[in-house]
Amino acid sequence: MGAAGIMMPALPAFSRSVSAEALLEPGLDVAVKKRLADAALNAAKSMGATYADVRIGRYLNQFVLTRENKVQGIINAESFGVGVRVIADGCWGFASVGDARNEAVVAQAAKTAVTIAKANARLLTEPVQLAPQKGFGDVSWKAPIKRNAFEVPIKEKVDLLLSANAAAMQNGANFVNNVLFQINEQKYFASTDGTYADQDIHRIGPNFTVTAVDPQSGKFSTRNSLSSPMGMGYDYLQVNPADKVTGVTTRYNKGYDMLEDITAAAKQAKEKLTAKSVEAGKYDLVLDPSHLWLTIHESVGHPLELDRVLGYEANYAGTSFATLDKWKSKDFNYGSKQVNLIADKTQLYSLGAVGWDDEGVKTKKWDLVRDGTLVNYQAIRDQVHIIGENESQGCCYADNWSSVQFQRMANVSLEAGKTPLSVANMIKDVKKGIYIIGDGSFSIDQQRYNFQFGGQLFYEIKDGQIVGMLKDVAYQANTREFWNSCVAVCDQSDYRLGGAFNDGKGQPAQSSAVSHGSATARFNGVNVINTARKI
């Protein structure tokens, strides 16, 4: 897979390759997991921990990778282990154990975590303040899948991808990379608060890149799939006409038609080679959900993570322009009145949906920006006292049993407009605009303020009509002026999810998967640059 190829999600730490059949084997029985968890919790308490939690995780991955008429690889991987987090002498400590199936080994990890906490306690001036959390007892949660992707024969998946690749080549592509990612997190959480949560989380991510090359000019263009990674099973790949949004090109909701999309992609990649290069200037932008999710992710999801705001990520992922004084003012106009941004860890079919987070908090939905005003952040148990709350918002996550959990982004989405508005009617009122579909390359500063976003497909709008394809388009803005330029959001019938499989943060680095929903939205007078310009 070349540079024009697709980024592959990282395998969980310490994965071992297994057979496809092994992915269907049941993990440890819940009773065994509870016994292991209790061993760790008791060991931690006996060493002086005032709080402890345990995560017993089995992480299953299957990646099918193809290009043109070749299968490049089929990866089946399993990672199993236990992570123990404690507070001792007011300080966090963490240790983990791989392939741990007996109480003694898990207890030893708990003791190691306590030892680390006590060694580091002298570096604190204030002890960790953990928001209280009631115990929920024995609870469980399962992703709403209709067809477990691991139960689908590999041949069926390979046949689908190679058929799609053939369709792309028949329709003008020179190259095609096509991959299918399937993930299952079997996660058991227990804490000294008295929660024992057994959860079964599934994600799927089909993704391709089609490339068209013009050897005469040395130019090439690509078109990525308009799919989204989803918190679903193989049912996402079942074609359903009701899940299609037709228009200048077809987009997809909770069901993805790979063959249809890749056929269009091949034609559009060729069309892009000769498309009109955009004239830089101010345009009204009409942004499809397949594009807008990424802008939401970078300019809303990240800056409203409280750990970034407070400086916990200053040395790696970055900080935030959305400082506490802006939130305290209660009148900071993050966006226009049309802008309502919510965080939601319960949203059906989303990548971030779970029943309980990784520190035993029942998940929920809450406002971040209401009627354009900044009203809240995303925060976890050791942070919420800083914003005057006494209950976590339930967005703590670790990407593996070997990783320590910390604050991660919830599904952050733009609410659909309350009044009926279709995409066609939105475009009808645009005099000089660009309709952008699909996410592309982007750049944003470490405070998540000044940014630039590209896309996959760009269509010029003149006097309410789409008049043709453009290329070399990127828009530049800062977060506040961009969201304040939002003048309309289509209604719920156009609402769709996009998302990221690999959102990176933390040291050592961890990834998380998160969805972002929206309906098509209009932003007036945004600065558009020509990315092919000579400087």
């Binding site: 003694a104 030893q108 990890a109 060694a119 900080t319 070997s402």
Partner: protein, 361 residues
């Protein structure tokens, strides 16, 4: 595997109380194997092979880290891991399997699994076979100062940094991560390589209270005694204080001077896009018709001259692929930048008959 700084040696035990009892014999296994131990284990694994060719890679590492922000320690942890990977080939059909258990039954099972996968795999026209025995440059990247690190020593190093930032009324956020490990490989052509190494990385961002001033510093060594967290912190302090009153500039053309850390990060990003296959296929900035090799050559040659940590982080051979170190010769030649692209693609280039290792930047 046991992940914890306390456990340099471990016993992999399986509980009879488990609902999925494991009948394998408990196997004493160190995380860090000596050269002789690694060679014995790899020889055993290769003895199970029935493939045309076979390559076995073995690694083990113990890691510890400590993170701080807002002038307070935040999270910290420790872990250790080991992994054995087998790549079997029948002609150009290649299969790879990995394992984290090291009893005899598991070792044979992973070899069989890689052979099954190879038989099922389509032919890989780019497969170049396993390497013959190599001559390696002598280097040592292993230092006991890191192998013997404890949480207390890590905390001491961070305490020196925190004292400076607190005393200066500035805010520090940093991370220190150390690793003690080894890599070893053996293949059916008789190549054996073993390389123990240690490293520690420290990075720090210091900011002024109003967030207007910020300074970053990063250091990496094989030897913990070389890491002076206080000296590094003073650099970040100076940058933070000096940038607090910085004025905004208009977009335009400027002469830019990059410190080594900034240049290295830039080069990393360029390097990972110097993919020979994409260039061959005409879909890269570096493609002959659309690219500008003159620019790349110049940049590449310049890059080699300002890497102050390179001698300390030298990586004499890469047991992962087992290639000898010809970087110096190749990177020292003018206009060879195309040949220094990643190994994964080099085999399909008609003018490149032999594999060569990844360059160090």
């Amino acid at each position: 595997m046991v992940y914890g700084w306390l456990t340099r040696e471990l016993l992999i035990r399986q509980s009879t109380a488990n609902q999925k009892p494991n009948t394998r014999t408990p196997t004493p296994m160190a995380i860090i194997l000596t050269e002789a131990e690694a060679k014995a284990l790899l020889t055993k694994v290769l003895s199970y092979s029935k493939a045309d060719s076979c390559e076995v890679n073995l690694s083990g590492a113990e890691r510890g880290n400590i993170r701080y922000a807002r002038n307070e320690v935040s999270t910290s942890g420790a872990l250790a891991n080991q992994l054995l990977g087998v790549q079997s080939a029948f002609g150009k059909k290649v299969g790879t399997a990995t394992i984290t258990e090291f009893d005899d039954a598991s070792l044979e099972k992973v070899v069989r699994r890689s052979e099954e996968l190879a038989q099922l795999a389509p032919e890989n026209s780019e497969y170049m076979g396993v390497l013959a025995p190599q001559q390696y440059l002598k280097a040592s990247g292993f230092f006991d100062s890191i192998a013997s690190l404890t949480p207390d020593k890590r905390a001491d190093a961070v305490a020196k940094s925190l004292k400076l930032t607190r005393d200066a009324n500035l805010i520090g956020a940093g991370f220190m991560d150390d690793r003690n490990g080894y890599e070893a490989m053996m293949n059916s052509k008789g190549l054996f390589a073993y390389y123990p190494s240690t490293n520690v990385n420290f990075s720090l961002t210091v900011r002024t209270d109003d967030g207007k001033g910020s300074g970053y510093v990063a250091r990496g060594y094989n030897d913990f005694t070389k890491l002076d967290t206080a000296a590094a912190t003073r650099i970040a302090l100076l940058k933070a204080q000096g940038s607090a009153q910085a004025r905004a500039i208009e977009p335009g053309k400027y002469t830019v001077i990059l410190e080594p850390t900034a240049a290295a990060v830039l080069l990393e990003n360029i390097f990972f896009n110097m993919d020979a296959r994409s260039a061959d296929e005409g879909r890269s900035y570096f493609s002959k018709t659309g690219g500008s090799p003159g620019w790349a050559t110049k940049l590449w040659m310049s890059a080699l001259q300002f890497i102050p940590t390179r001698p300390m982080l030298s990586y004499p051979h890469r047991p992962g692929r087992g290639m000898d170190d010809r970087r110096k010769k190749r990177c020292g030649l003018r206009k060879v930048w195309l040949r220094t692209w990643p190994i994964r693609a080099s085999g399909r280039r008609s003018r490149e008959k032999k594999p060569f290792p990844l360059p160090t930047m």
